[in-house]
Amino acid sequence: MNWYKFSSPKTFYPVAGSLAPYFLGVAGALLILGLYIAFFLAPTDFQQGEAYRIIFVHVPAAWMSMFVYLIMAGWSVVGLSLNSKLSYMMAQALAPTGAIFTFLALVTGSLWGKPMWGAWWVWDARLTSELILLFLYVGYMALHSALDDVRRADRATAVFALVSAVNVPIIYFSVKWWNTLHQGASVSLTQAPAMAKIMLMGMLIMSISFWMYTIGVALLRLQCIIAEREREIIWMNEAQRSE
């Protein structure tokens, strides 16, 4: 099988379209299963009561937010080294989903924080890192939309994704260090209750569901991006011909 064939946007377009529904279907099914475990099977926590159940969304969303950024950086490396358009498009298609997961992790984190700590926002190391990650996603998307020339936008955002992805662990480490300097070991989301097997299962299923959702949505968005770029080329050629 010739894999290179699929690296051309035109041939990948129908493939993306036919694969996406399967991924989204699996994502939906797993989401229902995961939420069922979260709400009905997982036991009530004796310290935190029912409020802790939000971790079934919060933790997988936080995982995804980090993974997606790394994957974007990965596609950027592929794009820059092989100069393949599809890789750049892939990175571009993933960014909004990653940003949504980051946002979701922040919102669920603060919803969890209110009953736990009595405040909507605490400068917990993980939440703060997550917030900075959201800034990076926003920067990535802002850079892409600000550059009119697609070729430049693709490659410039790839450089940014790479540079910032290298920074993500440094940022995380520095924020953790900062947290201990200023607050001592006070509040932290790591102090979740010891996990029952069923809870771990629930979280795992939710993560897989999020993965499938990410892939499905990225494929659909990829189709939009390909169509948009093709249209521009066709439109330009027609305009040239009619001159």
Partner: protein, 224 residues
């Protein structure tokens, strides 16, 4: 010998150009002072408060003023076509940019370091703490120029690039801010600042090695 001559000529050129436009340099410095002075006016000036916020305020202001001057790094060379010529200099672009970033630090970063002790006095810092402040800025401001150069190269020639530059660069500045201000805060609180300082030094080493290269890649992309 030839390489050294070329690099020397470039350094001389950039510093000379900055000296002929002193108002830019002075304006950035003035911004630094004004920004720092705003905080006590907004928060109040109780001595304990000054001790607590001083390091952070000075570092945040240094970060913002060094970001303000980033635009100058490439934009005027881009506008008059000399940047194209720099790309054609028979020498790795990475090396050229390393020199340009160094020149930028001399005219935009070093003055902040020199001015910082006076601002430290405003926040009632002791001599030892001021020493740490200066040291943290000496290690940290070059890093700001290095990271900022990548951002400046990415947004080259864009309309309204200034705001975008801030969005791109400020999140990447956060570790520098944390360890820079952290070192001084630690010193003010009587803890050893050594750990934070050596972490900045480590980041600076990484930055010197990788940032000019990344900036060179970004610059070539922007100049296509």
């Amino acid at each position: 010998m030839k390489i050294a001559g070329i690099l020397q000529a470039l350094l001389w050129r950039d510093i000379k150009l900055a000296m002929r436009r002193q108002s830019d340099v002075v304006a950035t410095l003035f911004f630094f002072v004004v920004a720092v002075s705003l905080f006590p006016l907004g928060i109040g000036s109780a001595p304990s408060l000054m001790h607590a916020i001083g390091p952070g305020v000075i570092w945040v202001a240094a970060l913002l003023s060094s970001m303000l001057s980033l635009n100058r790094l490439f934009s005027s060379d881009y506008a008059d076509g000399t940047l194209e010529q720099l790309l054609l200099v028979p020498m790795p672009l990475t090396l050229i940019l390393a020199i340009k970033i160094f020149a930028h630090w001399i005219v935009a970063g070093l003055p902040l370091v020199i001015l910082a002790p006076i601002l430290g006095l405003q926040f009632d810092m002791g001599a030892k703490d001021i020493g740490i402040l200066v040291l943290s800025l000496i290690l940290g401001t070059p890093l700001l120029s290095l990271i900022g150069a990548i951002g400046a190269a990415l947004i080259l020639g864009m309309r309204g690039g200034g705001v975008l530059l801030a969005i791109l660069v400020l999140p990447l500045y956060i570790p520098v801010l944390i360890f820079g201000a952290g070192a001084v805060t630690a010193s003010v609180n009587g803890i050893s600042p050594e750990g934070a300082l050596s972490l900045i030094a480590a980041m600076l080493t990484l930055g010197v090695v990788f940032a000019p290269f990344a900036a060179a890649v970004a610059l070539r992309i922007s100049l296509e």
